[in-house]
């Protein structure tokens, strides 16, 4: 690493070029499909599968979007997804942040047991709960409603772990000082804990938003009426038809990828740090 003698330096220079070139080649595999997707959304179904594949944008984006609107009511579908994702981010964010704070900054009877129960969610597959949840929603007459989609995942264990992890970095002395000054617990949380948690909250919000935006299996089951579909469910429905129009389908797919691209490009740092806090240290 610290070798500066001339032959070693030349060797490391060669290593640098080789390694960087190799990684660039790998990167092409990673990024090419996404680039192709963006390009495909601007061509007709016929041109998408033309040979050689199109590498530059065409002028059919508007037509594709129009067709999508006609076949699945895409505007409504995108609006459904946006409404659900925003509501989920706000409500889920509140639930996870409160619980994360409670687990990180207090010691109370039953705490270990409660946390273990949450951890259980990691081994219990989602698929196990979908049948009873479906029956529950039928009984409540909640099929095709927003609450049917939102409620089951509001207490997202990952979100709670993430917030507990971040909250435990908050110095106890700070809270203690507030208590001595006679500050109530809720005010302590709102005035002292929350303002220091901005990066963690940003990471949490991003995860919750993308979780809901991309979630597929549960919305597929809970939403039976095409007017209430979310973007992934509507796209899956499109593939079900015998004659798939790939211009439409891939345009919808590209639109589905837009929020993640935007959020990720602007908040990349939070993303990685949030993922690591939730994954590595749980």
């Amino acid at each position: 690493m610290a070798a500066t003698t001339s032959p070693a330096f030349r060797a490391s220079r060669r290593g640098q070029v080789l390694l960087t070139a190799g990684m660039l080649a790998l990167l092409a595999f990673t990024v090419a499909p996404l680039y192709w997707l963006a390009i495909a959304s601007t061509h007709t179904s016929h041109d998408i599968f033309g040979r050689p594949p199109k590498l530059l944008p065409g002028g059919e984006l508007g037509t594709n979007l129009g067709n999508l609107e006609e076949s699945v009511g895409f505007g409504r579908v995108v609006l459904n997804s946006l409404m659900l994702s925003v509501t989920y981010t706000v409500l889920g964010g509140i639930v996870c942040t409160l619980a994360g704070y409670g687990f990180a900054k207090f010691r109370f009877r039953g705490q270990g047991l409660m946390f273990s129960v949450l951890l259980l969610a990691l081994v219990v597959p989602t698929q196990l709960t979908i049948v009873p949840l479906f029956k529950m929603m039928v009984n409540l007459d909640w099929l095709n409603t927003y609450q049917a989609v939102l409620l089951p995942n509001l207490a997202l264990p990952f979100g709670i772990f993430l917030m507990r992890q971040s909250m435990s970095a908050l110095p106890d002395e700070l809270l203690q000082a507030g208590r001595i000054d006679g500050c109530g617990e809720l005010r302590l949380f709102l005035r002292i804990a929350l303002p220091t948690m901005r990066p963690a909250l940003a990471a949490l919000a991003m995860f919750l938003f993308l979780f809901q935006w991309n979630d597929f299996l549960w919305p597929l089951i809970a939403l039976r009426d095409p007017a209430s579909y979310t973007v992934p469910v509507a796209l899956a429905a499109l593939t079900g038809s015998s004659d798939v129009d790939y211009g439409q389908l891939l345009t919808g797919t590209a639109v589905a990828a837009v929020p993640m691209a935007v959020l990720f490009l602007f908040l990349q740092k939070h993303f990685v740090s949030g993922m690591l806090a939730g994954a590595v240290k749980q």
Binding site: M1, Q16, L19, T20, G22, M23, L27, T30, P33, L34, L37, F49, P52, A99, Y101, G102, F103, F106, R107, F108, Q111, G112, F115, V117, A121, V123, P125, Q127, L128, T129, I130, V131, P132, L133, M136, L151, L154, A155, I160, R164, S168, D172, R179, I180, E185, L186, F189, L210, W213, N214, L217, I221, A236, T239, A257, M260, F264, L265, V272, A279
Partner: protein
């Protein structure tokens, strides 16, 4: 039970073990003692209603046979049926194949990627970190549809590329063998960066002195990788193996979107089979039994992996 320890360690790891007594001393009456319960209450209530309750209900359902809208008690009948159901075993085999082939290849790739990203020799690191992480945040349906179109047999871009370099076209999604390969390719594309980031974070926490000491002792790069890097990565390796195992056993979205479980059920995973049983044939009792079989398998894997990890210590 074991998880109680980290929970406490998290709260008590800061200077001032007096946190709890001090709270008692402040004597704000019941309010202060109730506070922690009020903070965790919304999460726990929602969790109990929409997670725990369905888990229990699911077990009850699995003891009934569903026929149309009527349900008759069958005891362990659904589980017996499971043992004699060739399609269930096929789904299990398909899932196991992905576990045995795709997961090790992907984790090896991730490891290579992480070491490269951590190397002092690599330039333009932010670009690479961004690029390799981009697939991780691409939604499952999005990348499933994208991969499906790219691998399209007649006119997909991948077959065009193969032709270009003189290779025969491949029936990616219509041939049982290649359909499995397609699913594995898609999974690898999506998750390699995720695991690489976990490794990278761990690599950065291995003190550079360890490498330098080994280098002074005359260890070459390969031996240093084997004796310094790998042991340092152990916790991260274990974590990714456990996460990938659980994720693979639950695999649903990719095969559902790309192949629908076909052709000839070659890509039917346990998750896909469960969905089809429950929501195409509305056989809720049997679907619940499949779900419980899956929980059993996941728990067994989890136990074995944790045990192995402990024995090695």
């Amino acid at each position: 039970m074991t998880t109680a320890a980290p929970a406490r360690a998290g709260a008590g790891s800061h200077p001032g073990p007096a946190a709890a007594p001090a709270r008692r001393r402040s004597g704000r009456g019941g309010g202060a003692r109730l506070a922690p319960y009020l903070f965790v209450l919304p999460a726990l209530a929602l969790f109990a209603a929409f997670r725990l309750y369905p888990v229990v209900w699911s077990f009850v359902l699995s003891l009934y046979r569903t026929e149309g809208t009527t349900q008759t008690w069958t005891g362990l009948g659904n589980y017996e049926r499971l043992l004699n159901d060739p399609l269930f075993w096929k789904a299990l085999g398909n899932t196991a194949l992905i576990l045995v082939v795709q997961v090790p290849v992907m984790l090896a790739l991730s490891l290579g990627l992480a070491v490269a990203l951590n190397s002092a020799l690599l330039r333009w690191k932010p670009l690479f970190r961004l690029g390799f992480f981009l697939p991780v945040v691409t939604g499952l349906v999005t990348y499933g549809l994208m991969m499906g179109a790219l691998l399209n047999q007649d006119s997909g871009a991948v077959n065009w590329l193969l032709q270009l370099v003189g290779l025969p076209e491949v029936h990616w999604l219509n041939d049982p063998f290649w359909a499995r390969v397609s699913i594995m390719l898609a999974l690898t594309w999506h998750y390699t960066g995720y695991n690489a980031v976990i490794y990278l974070a761990r690599l950065q926490s291995i003190p550079a002195e360890h490498h330098e000491a080994a280098a002074v002792d005359g260890a070459g790069p390969l031996r240093r990788f084997w004796h310094v890097t790998l042991p340092g990565l152990r916790p991260a390796l274990l974590l990714t193996v456990v996460l990938s195992t659980i994720g693979t056993l639950q695999l649903f979205d990719e095969p559902f979107i790309m192949t629908g479980g076909g052709p000839d059920n070659a890509t039917t995973t346990i998750g896909v089979y469960l969905y089809q049983t429950g929501f195409r044939y509305f056989d809720f009792g049997y679907a619940s039994a499949i779900g419980y079989a899956l929980v059993l398998i996941i728990s067994l894997f989890g136990l074995v992996q944790v045990k192995l990890a402990k024995e090695e210590d």
